[in-house]
């Protein structure tokens, strides 16, 4: 649209028309310029200052935000890298290795209890043998008692000659009774021991069963916990990767914002130069010599261009001063090319 307007303006404001206009309305035009230039200049400068103030305020807010964003970016990146290096599988494997001794301890405990139970069962067998032996002692005592009775009968039959033998037979009988009593006592004690051992065996059997069940349950629980943790870590890893990706994108956008914010500096320079040039024109118009026609459009443009700093300023419409219009300071201008948004360039190191 501006280009169409410009073409129409060019058609309407030919050099000849401009010359005629300047010749006819020169003093009036100079008066208008003198009146209006300070106003335009003021507006340009006001705009420049307002933009500068607004950008300053935005940057002030951004100054508080940017470090936090930067911190979030670095934290997300670190978390993602940490999880990425280990991986969910790696972390689960580490936990499994850490829990392995505990699992082995439980298994060893169960195994020890099984061995103890086996010992108790063997002890039961031994006590059975002891009971048998005690029974045999009592049987021997009974046989010995019968033998002593027979010996006493034979001693009585021998009369005086068998008196001494009768004493021995009586003593053997007494010892036989004592042996029988001892055998009974051993049997009773062994029975008590057998009862106690059987009770211990039952208790040990129940304990071993419980421990085996607990061991199996513990293993299953460890597996379940590790699986759940693995899933959680995988979720966290995905989340951290997503955060890191978002953080990278946010970082890139922050950098792009930094580049975009610099438009204010460029705008400031363009408007500053425009402001200064309007003031220069106003001052020149106030000069009686200039007002009398000493203003030179070509020299003016050369001086203006000499103060350009940016490439896009040099891309301004090429201006040529039309010969008939020079006296009146009129110029014709080619169509303005579209203003390209500047992008960062390479650093020149010296």
């Amino acid at each position: 649209m501006p280009f169409l307007w410009f073409k129409r303006w060019r058609r309407g404001a030919s050099a000849a028309n401009a010359t005629a206009l300047a010749g006819r309305d020169g003093p009036a035009l100079a008066a208008v310029c003198q009146a209006v230039l300070p106003v335009w200049s003021h507006h340009v400068d006001t705009s420049r200052r307002q933009v500068e103030q607004a950008i300053g305020d935005i940057l002030g807010s951004f100054a508080a935000l940017a470090p936090r964003l930067g911190h979030a970016v670095s934290e997300s990146r670190a978390a993602s890298q940490a999880l990425g290096a280990e991986g969910a599988g790696g972390l689960v494997q580490q936990c499994r290795q850490a829990l392995q001794p505990l699992s082995e301890t439980i298994t060893r405990s169960v195994s020890d209890k099984a061995a103890m139970l086996q010992g108790v069962q063997q002890l039961g067998q031994v006590t059975g043998e002891l009971r048998q032996m005690a029974e045999e002692v009592r049987a021997i005592a009974r046989q010995t008692n019968l033998l002593s009775i027979n010996a006493a009968i034979e001693a009585a039959r021998a009369g005086e000659a068998g008196k001494g033998f009768a004493v021995v037979a009586a003593e053997v009988r007494r010892l036989s009774a004592l042996s029988q009593e001892t055998g009974r006592s051993i049997t009773d004690r062994v029975q008590a021991a057998v009862t106690a051992i059987e009770q211990v065996g039952i208790t040990a059997q129940a304990s071993a069963s419980r421990d085996a069940a607990a061991s199996a349950s513990a293993s299953r629980t460890i597996d379940d916990v590790l699986q759940t943790m693995g899933q959680a870590v995988s979720g966290l890893q995905l989340s951290a990767q997503g955060l890191a990706t978002d953080a990278e994108a946010a970082q890139a956008q922050i950098h792009q914002l930094f580049i975009s914010f610099q438009f204010q500096d460029r705008l400031n320079q363009i408007l500053g130069l425009l402001h200064a040039d309007m003031q220069r024109l106003h001052a020149a118009l106030a000069d009686p010599l200039a007002a009398a026609g000493a203003l030179d459009a070509q020299a003016w443009l050369v001086q203006l261009e000499s103060r350009y700093a940016m490439a896009e300023q040099h891309q301004a419409p090429p201006t040529r001063v039309a010969a008939p219009a020079r006296a009146a300071g009129q110029a014709t201008t080619a169509a303005p090319p579209p203003a390209a948004a500047p992008a960062p360039t390479e650093v020149d190191f010296f």
């Binding site: 500068e52 950008i55 300053g56 940057l59 002030g60 951004f62 100054a63 940017a66 470090p67 930067g70 922050i254 950098h255 930094f258 580049i259 975009s260 914010f261 610099q262 438009f263 204010q264 500096d265 460029r266 400031n268 320079q269 700093a309 940016m310 490439a311 500047p342 992008a343 960062p344 360039t345 650093v347 020149d348 190191f349 010296f350």
Partner: protein, 122 residues
């Protein structure tokens, strides 16, 4: 201890952008809005690098670089010119004055930080 960078630009917003960029990377910043103010900051304190605009009221950046070179303590102060000026003649003048690098605005933060880390004094 953080290194100190002197940021010289007449645009407050530009100084702020440069400061934000440098502070995020762990540098401390001093600010000046033209060459004269910047020279006043060269008062013996340790400055590891300067980032300097070219066109400024008061004293321009190229003159500042030349003046800084005359001070013994800052004779080897690395200066990065950060400017909208892209003309080779200006670059040559900056190089002749003693600038170490030339960046045409707008700058990107990674680009500026890369140049700063390459030239910063130990």
């Amino acid at each position: 201890m953080a290194k100190t960078i002197l940021v010289i630009d007449d645009s407050a917003s530009l100084r702020q952008l440069v400061r934000l960029t440098l502070q995020a990377a762990g540098y401390d910043c001093l600010e000046a809005d033209d060459g004269l103010t910047a020279l006043a900051k060269l008062d013996g304190r340790k400055i590891h690098l300067a980032v300097c605009d070219v066109n400024m009221p008061g004293m321009d950046g190229i003159t500042f670089v030349g003046q800084a070179r005359t001070r013994a303590a800052y004779k080897f102060l690395p200066v990065i010119m950060l400017t909208t000026e892209s003309q080779q003649a200006k670059k040559d003048a900056g190089k002749a004055a003693g600038a170490r690098a030339w960046i045409v605005k707008p700058f990107s933060p990674p680009q500026l930080l890369d140049a700063v880390s390459k030239l910063c004094l130990p």
